[in-house]
């Protein structure tokens, strides 16, 4: 039975990496008495996935996990209750339901809190919106490239003293919330220190049906 779980990642648990989170959820499910199905093939792996990788240090109120459990009669409410008792501190199961048709992730909403006054934030946001391009360098061990953050996150807003921003995932990539924060910092006259980033929601759309392969 495929189940979709929604979890919150709070407090110190936000420093867990994507892979650590997957292993942690598998162990928590085993402790709760559930058996996770294995994939087919030469090296079977547990069938579990997280919808959208989360940066280390980013909290989340919408961490989505799809997992295939052995058996067909699992009560989602009971699963949340049992999993709540077996997850480590800061990992909070919120709800579960049978997984529907597969979807693709189109974006996510984040709350970025800064140690700064509303006036400073408003000024930075105005400069951000006025810019036509905001390039932020992204470094990996193999390469360095500039990401135009503005293209993926065009309309950040100020709400209750923090920045709320929708970041889209496009065919050619996306921006990380840390990069949006850096772009905002570059637009500010004063030093804006990031106080915390929280993912508020993940946005999905139905996966397009794959038709016959076209050749050109």
């Amino acid at each position: 039975m495929r189940i979709e779980l929604r979890l919150a990642i709070r407090d110190r648990a936000r420093y867990l990496s994507h892979l650590e989170m997957v292993d942690l959820l598998l162990a928590a499910l085993r402790r709760a008495g559930y058996e996770v199905a294995l994939s087919n093939g030469m090296r079977p792996k547990p069938v579990i996935s997280l919808a959208l990788a989360r940066g280390v240090g980013v909290a989340s109120e919408d961490e989505r996990c799809t997992v295939e459990l052995i058996g067909d009669d699992h009560d989602p409410a009971a699963l949340v209750e049992r999993l709540s008792a077996t997850c480590p501190r800061g990992v909070v199961p919120l709800e579960a339901h049978p997984a529907g048709p597969k979807t693709i992730v189109t974006g996510a909403t984040y709350r970025i809190a800064f140690d700064a006054g509303e006036d400073d934030l408003a000024a930075a946001l105005a400069a951000y919106r006025a810019a036509t391009e905001l390039a932020v360098p992204r470094r990996s061990p193999k390469q360095r490239r500039d990401i135009d953050v503005r293209r993926f996150a065009p309309e950040p807003e100020l709400t209750d003293g923090a920045v709320i921003v929708d970041i889209a995932i496009l065919e050619d990539g996306s921006a990380k919330p840390e990069e949006v924060a850096r772009a905002l910092q570059s637009c500010a006259d004063r030093d804006l220190r990031v106080a915390g980033i929280t993912r508020l929601a993940v946005h999905t759309a139905p996966r397009a049906r794959v038709g016959a392969t076209e050749t050109t």
Binding site: D11, R12, S17, E20, L29, R30
Partner: protein
Amino acid sequence: MEQSVLQARIEDLLTHVEKPSRYIGGEVNETVKPEAGVRVALAYPDAYEVGISNQALQILYGLINDRTEAAAERVYCPWPDMADAMRREGVPLFTLETWRPVRDCDLLGITLQAELTYSNVLELIDLAGIPVRASERTDDDPIVLAGGPSASNPMPLAHFVDAFFMGEAEEGLERIVEILAQTGDRQERLDRLAELPFLYLPARGPEPVERAIFTEFSIDTAPTRPVVPYASAIFSRASVEVMRGCTRGCRFCHAGTWYRPVRERKVEEVVTAGLEQLGCTGYDELSLTSLATSDYSGVQRAIREIKAVKPDLHLSLPSNRVDTGPVALAAAANSRQRSITLAPEAATQRMRDIICKTITDEMIEQAIDAAFGAGYTSLKMYFMIGLPLETFAEVQGIVDLGFRAREIGRRHFGESGRFTVHVSASNFVPKPHTPFQWDGMAPPDQLRVKQDYLRRALKGRQIKLSLHDVRTSMLEGALGRGDAITGDVLEAAWRAGARFDAWTEHHREDVWRAAFGAAGRDLEVEATRERDPLDPLPWDHVRSGVTKEFLLDEWWQSRAERPTGDCRWEGCSDCGACVGPVRNRLVEA
């Protein structure tokens, strides 16, 4: 620094360091007792992923938190990036559970599992804001206590540690906690601790100190709620210690002396503890641990009973002997398990007689055959090079045995079958309290020549070779049998940047050479120097229970190439370990 300020500063650091999950705590089965009267910081002087996998520290953690009014919290050595950031930002060493400063604890307990972690011991003490030298500590500083197998020669760390625990901590830990609860003044605490026969306080001089032996091991319940590490740990599996001690008498083996006599846990207890651990940890693998698990009298019954409940469980038996291992391994085998390890240690009969490894070529071949026959496709074999009286024939023997194993493998899996023989050759390092404590290490050039030969000779399909870094082995040898002057060398090396010496990317050979040189010593001379049996040894005041006369007699037996029988089955060898209630205790098979 206020607690909330400290927490905010730690959070700031975590976004800038590698693997922040090393520092966050909050794992399943951790215990938080913020109101406890006595607070103990249990430290492992290496990275989180190494330390969290250590069974001894897990036992002590459970023991303190479950049975006493005290709270035990964990500390691991911050990785260099974090340590540097902590110093830069003025963040003191903190415990994982509550993120409180270690210096506010009553006791900092450090486990010494290996000599190459000694520089990290100093790093931990300094990061905590505690003066590195014990003589400079004041009433505001916690007691720094060290234990574990490497404490059996306490002298290299004697300048830096207030008290050393000799032996098995289950036997005396509660008495230490009681003293901490009853006293508040540092001096009074040290006075009371000095009365305990298993504690050595360097400031009081080299008074004789007795090894504590946990006599109740066979009837005590095994720990069942270990802290479950995050994914990065080197071992992620449930484990039950089935037996403590080993009387096989391998002459190079420190644990073979230090944990005598043999005490086996009841099979029922092993099965119950194993299943409980699996349930509360979520692991899908259970390890039955000991110095030689295949020697455990109840091994087959335990495996049978565990597999009756969990037939698909991945059951691992580390440290298998060649003579008793294959049968147990065959019983433990399942479809998911592909790899086993055998430890012949030496490849020729002559060398096995010298080191007292009482196995024959025929037994080794039978073991390899049984392992491949049981379906294992990866066979790892441990050997040592640089042993006393070694000739080149012993090195050639490793090559020959490696190829012989491949031949046997091909008989099972075919000429181009998918299996691997992993040959691992480590460098012999003499340890205190062993019959080889008077022997020197082989010179580094000689070790390198032998390693080069193995690299050239052990090539080909289905064969893999792994070797140990000669530089770190030499340092291990120089520190392991060191004295108080070695402590000065250690401090100089640490001040010059030595830390995480067991990690090749951090090992600083130049720094250590300079530190030894400044003390008028040479690193290689210290490691390779033979000790005269008539001269006193730095650890002579530490009484392991096994007499020096027995060790010397065993040394002579090694020169005569004569093995000694195991007292479990071949009569008492009069080693001195059994006194009063302390005896070998075996369970029924």
